[in-house]
């Protein structure tokens, strides 16, 4: 190795504490990206595998636009020349006694053999003699099932034992493997129809078509026929916003990581300035110095990246469950497989770490190239120049903020433009740190003098005088804290908006069967309707349908009941908007209006069982149930269009002044329990929704936490660098008579000062970030308005984190002070 390179690399060994901190900082940044990417990919791969497994060999799927379809359709299908094979399917959910919801597939084992041989052969997979009996049992005994192997293992069940569910107990005839890992219960279709009260109905037909072009026109009306690639795309498109947010979150973590690398590299340049000057005076070329420095940066990047990949892989094991449960809660069931270990993960970490290091090291490298050897050798400070530079950087920061505002205003073009605006804003704001540190200098000096006397005053001066180092550390820490405040405020505001929204929509006294897999029998609805004294019953039905090639939701409700009892948040007007719904029109969610650029008075065309139906849009309401868009209509309109009488849940409304209120509620509870239907009060339902909401932001919270850890390493590194660079100054303090405790106070106050300034700046940056996330990113990603509610918690939590982190960061230098201060000398080298 060349001596020039060696002279730079020796710093890594000479300052092991700092090297470890820098390495960990990079590793954490890389770990965040790897962890997030690997877990998201794992969840999506599992999802794709599940879709492929369930699809089998089928080419198309046939459904009603909404609700189940009549099994008489099968007779006509049999005669269609384009159909090579078909298999009717009942596809529902059942709740296990453990609380887990599991997919139940009802199939005809004969018809399904051509579509899903692995699955439909399950009843025949045993030995011959036993085989015949198993097969007979599967067809004849209503309570017999086959169970997915992993699920059986998880529940500790074996063939012959009973599986307990919310719809009774089932005997396990055998087990089958599902490579996608999704737990499935397999049942004969006739038994499934009876179990889910679907007499004469099926959920879909899986088809193998020989002539798609010939088939589609014949079945155009009243059916939704999608090729499997279309179906998969539709499902994956539903995850687009979710994926985008995951990507943005991991990019934010990487952004903090790159900033940290920039931070550490700049420190390194500052401490190598003199060495670079010496080397130049000895005749070393700029390129040799840069290459040596580059080697140092890359060693950090590569080692940090590799370490980050390992941490990221471990993190992915934790995140994959969070991502999986969020997707399952919000979209469709996914049981993500544990991400497999691969050498490619290390390679990815090394590339990210190395790339981020080069990116973060670019500006410091430029600075190294431009170093004036005369100045560095003479030891002349460039205070005046540094002030001018700080002012220039601040102007650049302001310019970048202006650009960020323009990008945010242009975010209607694409949400990525909005994300670019967010990053530009964070970058621009961070560039203002230096000038703000200068401006806050006198106030900090006054405060610290009163806090810690002379050492406090010196500490404040040190922060101000060592701007080239403190500025970067403060801005990196500020970014992480601003992210914490911004994300925290955004989540808090969203939560409060959700609480407000629930207050407008969930005003019923009781809700029966709010669990998707359990439906309310129509006769039960009729039975309750007949009960005297009830104010109203809202039979709620929610289905997913295709609209203009995109999956959206349709809800059917009783408009008269909701007009009387609910207080929807309307974009325009009030409860008179229900009149249009009562007259056969629809109301649409804000997300639908924004996504499809639809306004009041427009018409939306839906594919009904008897062809397209155009419906007038009466009003737009605030809604957070789906970002894909929701059309709400009266039950009578819904049944007319889709012929689907299914009810997902009932909302029971009783007038507050009704003297029989308590008795009526008790009676309804009793009746529901008789039918094994779950009953919830609106408060319980709200709690469930909020718990779901909180769980969906678990990933965001993890990233918020990681960003702070990354920044913690940054500020600790900064303090340690300051300490190491100023050893001579400590000798001078000692000569002047400063005691060890005074120097300790100075060190602690320097850390605290940097933390406090970072926090103060982050309150401004974080609030702005929260507003951007709410008003731009959320709106563009999810098409809904989240109202900004100022909350104190994110600020207090972040403030505590800032103080603790900065004090924690001061511990190592403090320990060094206590250990070595008495021996420190005033020496040049």
């Amino acid at each position: 190795m060349r001596v020039v390179t060696k002279s730079f690399l020796r710093y890594l060994i000479k300052r092991p504490g700092l090297s470890v901190l820098q390495l960990l900082g990079i590793a954490c940044g890389v770990a965040a990206v790897i962890g997030m990417t690997v877990s998201a990919r794992s969840a999506l791969t599992s999802f794709a595998m599940a879709v492929d497994f369930l699809r089998g060999k089928s080419t198309h799927v046939m459904e009603r636009p909404a609700g189940p379809l009549d099994e008489k359709t099968l007779e006509k299908l049999m005669l269609d020349p384009a159909v090579r094979y078909f298999s009717p399917v009942v596809d529902r959910k059942i709740k296990l006694k453990t609380g887990e919801s599991v997919r139940v597939l009802g199939i005809d084992p004969f018809l399904d053999r051509s579509i899903r041989p692995e699955l439909s052969n399950a009843p025949f997979s045993e030995t011959d003699v036993k085989n015949r009996q198993t097969y007979v049992d599967f067809l004849l005994k209503e309570t017999t099932i086959f169970l997915e192997k992993n699920l059986a293992t998880d529940l500790g069940l074996k063939p012959g034992e009973m599986l307990s569910t919310s719809r009774g107990n089932f005997q396990i005839l055998g087990l089958f493997a599902n490579p996608s890992g999704e737990p499935i219960i397999l049942m004969d279709i006739a038994h499934a129809q009876r179990l889910f009260d679907l007499s004469g109905k099926i959920d879909r037909v899986d088809l193998i078509l020989s002539d798609e072009a010939g088939f589609l026109p014949r079945w155009k009306e009243g059916y939704r026929i999608q090729s499997h690639s279309q179906k998969k795309e539709t499902l994956l498109a539903m995850l687009a916003a979710f994926r985008l947010n995951l990507e943005a979150l991991s990019l934010l973590a990487l952004f903090v990581g790159v900033f940290l690398i920039y931070n550490t590299t700049t420190f390194a340049v500052v401490s190598r300035r003199r060495d670079a000057g010496i080397l130049r005076s000895l005749g070393a070329q700029n390129s040799e110095i840069v290459l040596s420095f580059l080697a140092e940066i890359l060693i950090f990047g590569i080692l940090g990246g590799a370490l980050g990949a390992i941490i990221g892989h471990l993190l992915a094991h934790f995140l994959v469950n969070l991502v999986g449960s969020t997707i399952s809660n919000l979209y469709f069931f996914v049981r993500p497989v544990e991400p497999p270990w691969s050498i490619m993960t290390i390679l990815a970490g090394v590339i990210i770490g190395g790339g981020a290091s080069l990116l973060g090291g670019f500006l410091p490298l430029l600075e190294l190239i431009r170093i004036d050897p005369v100045q560095t050798l003479s030891g002349r400070t460039v205070s005046r120049k540094s002030r001018i530079k700080t002012q220039r950087v601040a102007f650049a920061g302001l310019a970048i903020i202006v650009v960020s505002i323009i990008l945010l205003l242009l975010s209607f073009i694409n949400v990525y433009v909005g994300f670019a605006g967010v990053f530009a804003f964070i970058l621009g704001f961070s560039l203002l740190t230096g000038i703000i540190l200068i401006a806050l200098g006198p106030a900090m000096k006054w405060l610290f003098y009163h806090l810690g006397g002379l050492p406090g005053k010196v500490a404040a001066g040190n922060i101000r005088q060592n701007l080239s180092r403190t500025n970067i550390a403060v801005s990196a820490f500020m970014i992480a804290l601003a992210l914490s405040i911004g994300l925290g405020s955004m989540i808090g505001s969203f939560r409060k908006s959700l609480v407000w929204w629930m207050g407008t929509q969930l005003r019923g006294d009781l809700y029966i069967s709010t669990i998707a897999e359990i439906q309310v029998p129509e006769e039960f609805y009729e039975e309750l309707k007949a009960m005297p004294g009830l104010g109203g019953i809202d039979p709620y039905r929610n289905v997913q349908v295709m609209y203009n090639g995109f999956q959206i939701s349709i809800s059917s409700i009783d408009a008269s009941v909701l007009q009387r009892y609910a207080r929807f948040g309307w974009l325009k007007g009030g409860n008179e908007n229900w009149e249009a719904v009562k007259n056969g029109g629809v109301i649409i969610s804000e997300s639908f209006a924004r996504r499809f650029k639809t306004k009041e008075g427009d018409r939306v065309t839906l594919d009904g069982i008897e062809g397209p139906v155009a419906l007038s849009v009466g009003a737009i309401f605030y809604d957070y149930t789906t970002e894909h868009g929701l059309i709400m209509m009266d039950r009578s309109t819904y049944i007319k269009i889709f012929g689907d009488t299914t009810i997902n849940s009932l909302g029971i409304f009783i007038d507050p002044g009704n003297p029989q209120r308590a008795e009526l509620l008790g009676e309804i509870r009793r009746k529901a329990q008789e039918r094994n239907l779950p009953v919830l009060t609106s408060k319980q339902l709200e709690r469930n929704i909020l718990a779901l909401f909180d769980s969906t932001f678990a990933v965001t919270r993890s990233m918020r936490f990681l960003a702070i850890i990354v920044a913690f390493f940054g500020i600790t590194g900064a303090l340690l660098t300051l300490f190491l660079e100023r050893k001579k100054d400590f000798g001078i303090y000692r000569a002047l008579g400063f005691s060890t405790s005074q120097i300790s106070i100075m060190t602690v106050l320097e850390g605290l000062g940097m933390g406090l300034v970072s926090f103060l700046l982050s309150t401004v940056g974080g609030t702005a970030l929260a507003l951007i996330l709410i008003k731009v990113i959320n709106l563009r990603s999810f098409n809904w308005t989240v109202f900004y509610y100022p909350e104190w918690q994110p600020y207090v939590v972040t403030g505590i984190v800032a103080i603790c982190a900065s004090l924690g960061a001061a511990l190592h230098p403090l320990w060094k002070v206590c250990r070595t201060y008495p021996q420190m000398q005033i020496r040049e080298e």
């Binding site: 130049r280 005076s281 080298e829």
Partner: protein
């Protein structure tokens, strides 16, 4: 005989600070091969600026500098770097050793930059300045005098034609300073190297063939060493 260094009407102005920013005001200088020149003057008189200009570390506002007949301006940055690497040695008041390299590595660095990976020469150079057996020590493990000896070894090991020494004894006590200057003079004579020493202490005078005086950016009093010491 062609001079090693020829400085013709050199002006140097820093920034746009008017009269106060002018460090050199039309200075002229010639140094012959093997000549030891002491340039003395008060702090801020422009001595170090002149040294930096001759080394090509800085560029004059006006005037011409030739080293071994080559105009520093015309050879460009890479030419100036090459000149420092091959033909010039630099010794500083604050030693300026690389703190992460041992004494031996600091000396060997000069050879490596030349492309001469000659470990024996580096060891010999250290021995020549009286630091045999101390090559493995880092700068902070050496005294000030020893550090300056390493700096001298680093400068002479590549046998340059000219050594530029900026206050080589400024950070040393009188005894050590005298030893260093003696060593420097001896090595320069032995290897026929020219030496330009910048100083503001009379200690350097007796080791110089020629003494120059710089006042306010102009070399005003050329005088011989013997005349001064007499």
């Amino acid at each position: 005989m062609q001079p090693i260094v020829r400085v013709v009407d050199i002006w140097k102005q820093y920034g746009d600070e008017g009269q106060n920013g002018i460090a050199l005001r039309g200075t002229n200088l010639e140094i012959k091969p093997g000549e030891v020149v002491a340039l003395f003057g008060k702090s801020g008189s422009g001595k170090t600026t002149l040294l930096n200009l001759i080394a090509g570390l800085d560029r004059p506002t006006k005037g011409r500098i030739e080293v071994e007949g080559r105009d520093l301006e015309s050879i460009g940055e890479s030419g100036r770097t090459d000149l420092r690497r091959r033909r010039l040695g630099f010794i500083f008041q604050f030693f300026n050793l690389l703190p992460t390299l041992t004494a031996y590595e600091n000396v060997y660095l000069s050879l490596e930059l030349l492309g001469r990976r000659d470990q024996k020469s580096a060891k010999d150079a250290l021995a020549a300045v009286g630091l045999e057996g101390k090559g493995a020590r880092y700068p902070h493990e050496l005294s000030g005098g020893e550090q300056q000896r390493v700096a001298i070894a680093r400068a002479i090991v590549k046998e340059p034609t000219l050594i530029l020494a900026d206050e080589p004894t400024g950070n040393l006590d009188t005894t050590t300073g005298s030893q260093i200057l003696e060593l420097l003079q001896h090595r320069c004579q032995k290897h026929k190297m020219s030496l330009l020493m910048v100083s503001h202490t009379p200690l350097t005078w007796k080791f110089a063939d020629r003494i120059l005086h710089m006042v306010d950016g102009v070399i005003t009093e050329p005088a011989s060493c013997t005349e001064i010491t007499r």
